[in-house]
């Protein structure tokens, strides 16, 4: 590590100015790593030869100044400051053979690696965006519809559709209050199916309530649902001509009977 003996009071004027310039615009950074990378540029060396100790000092100075100016620093900037302070002490103190964990040099090397990698990614991102791009520099066929003649229909969907569809269903479930409690719902289809099986035995007038499915008669919510759907299904079967239905008076029991000869 070069310049590990660099002293705090020898920080150059240019660096100090740079650090001050940075302070004004703390919002312009995308997190501590981005800030570190910007600070490292003031060293004007190859990132591989960067002095991490000096960088740690620059960062800590930056954070101090931000505090002095009462700028709100996000928590991750402060976490990084604490970590760099720790790293600084490790780099300055002679290694303690008793102490566990990685050495200051190892930690410094990893930080340097992270900075170099981030810089490398930014460089290639710039190179990527500088490439000739479809629709900007080179072009696809402008008119592809001339051969379209409808012949066969295929269906397609993208993975995004699929995931959004699934997300839609699952998110709806999270709003339980708006969803009926389906456990207690006996659907009309279910009732119809059940009634079709039962009407064969309904030779004589029988109470609608006796047609409710087993286990649905006691719980009030379930009974209500089952009654409604069984009644609706009965009406449907009457319409189809398989069943007769009668009620002698308002609120009197509703009675059902099989109809022998289906209507026309």
């Amino acid at each position: 590590m070069a310049d590990t003996t660099f002293e705090e009071d020898t920080v150059s004027v240019a660096e100090r100015l740079a650090a001050e310039a940075l302070i004004v615009d703390v919002d312009g950074f995308e997190g501590p790593l981005d800030l570190l990378l910007t600070l490292s540029r003031t060293q004007k060396v190859d990132l591989r030869k960067i002095s991490v100790l000096q960088l740690a000092r620059q960062y800590l100075t930056f954070v101090e100044k931000a505090k002095a100016l009462r700028l709100e620093l996000a928590a991750d900037y402060l976490v990084m400051a604490a970590w760099l302070a720790f790293l600084k002490s490790r780099l300055l103190l002679p290694p303690d053979p008793e102490e566990e964990g990685p050495s200051g040099e190892e930690l410094a090397a990893h930080l340097a690696f992270q900075l170099e990698r981030l810089q490398a990614m930014r460089d290639v991102a710039a190179r990527l965006m500088a490439r000739d791009q479809l629709g900007r520099d080179f072009f696809a066929r402008g008119q592809t519809n001339e051969v379209e003649r409808v012949r066969r229909v295929t269906y397609t969907a993208t993975l995004l559709d699929l995931m959004q569809g699934y997300a839609r269903i699952r998110t709806r479930d999270e709003f339980r209050p708006f969803v009926m409690d389906r456990d207690a719902v006996f659907t009309m289809e279910q009732a119809l199916e059940r009634m079709r099986g039962l009407i064969g035995y309904a030779g004589d007038w029988g109470d609608l309530m006796s047609f409710l499915p087993e286990g649905w008669e006691t719980d009030p919510a379930k009974r209500r649902s089952a009654t409604a759907s069984t009644f609706a299904a009965s009406l449907e079967l009457v319409k189809e001509g398989h069943l007769e239905i009668r009620q002698s008076d308002t609120f009197a029991p509703i009675q059902l009977r099989k109809r022998d000869v289906p209507r026309g």
Partner: protein
């Protein structure tokens, strides 16, 4: 002239409408002669699979008429799957093997026969083994064709709810205080032998 020929070739290729010589020249550097370049270009494409044809007072590139039979596949009309079909398919993919009743339970509405038939016909789903529950209902699972179409190695590669949310695909956040339902990434992957036990809750 070779350079001018290249220019009109590129423009003719990329424009969607036939283009006149005047329009061509207005796009080219000053002093170009689109008319002469066009003569050369048309000659170059003579007898090829693509032709430079005159359309009204403009020019356009067209595939040679005798090769129209190759375009038959272009005439396939691609339609988006219906929302019901996509949802049904998603449920099968995430919960397979899954019965029709379970799909209805999750969607909250009954599944029409046509929807399942369509997915079967697309060969994106098939019948799985019967469930060991009363009535031994038939189950549905997704097929290799499904995985191919959606570029998945296997159905377990499907992102979980947490990941969907992280990617911004879940618009709604759950109201505070509610427990997230299933689909918490890890939970889902743990079930190595079918995701059916997710229904036990």
């Amino acid at each position: 002239m070779a350079e001018q020929e290249r220019m009109i070739e590129a423009v003719l290729f990329a424009t969607s409408e036939p283009i006149t010589l005047k329009e061509l020249e207005s796009r080219m550097p000053h002093g170009c002669d689109a008319g002469e370049a066009m003569v050369h270009l048309r000659k170059r494409y003579e007898g090829r699979g693509v032709q430079v044809v005159r359309v009204g007072d403009g020019y356009a590139m067209r595939t040679a008429a005798d090769l129209g039979f190759l375009m038959q596949k272009e005439t396939v009309e691609v339609r988006k799957l219906s929302r019901a079909a996509i949802e049904t398919l998603a449920i099968i993919a995430y919960h397979q093997p899954v019965t029709r009743a379970e799909i209805e339970e999750i969607r909250g509405v009954s599944v029409s026969r046509g929807t399942v038939d369509q997915l079967l016909e697309l060969e994106w789903i098939r019948f799985g083994r019967r469930k060991m529950t009363p009535g031994r209902p038939v189950t549905f699972v997704v097929t290799q064709g499904f995985l191919d179409h959606f570029g998945l190695e296997n159905a377990r590669d499907l992102p979980g709810l947490k990941e969907l949310r992280a990617a911004g695909l879940l618009e709604n956040r759950p109201p505070p205080g509610t427990m997230p339902l299933l689909g918490d990434g890890e939970d889902e992957e743990e079930s190595t032998e079918g995701q059916s036990e997710l229904f036990e809750d």
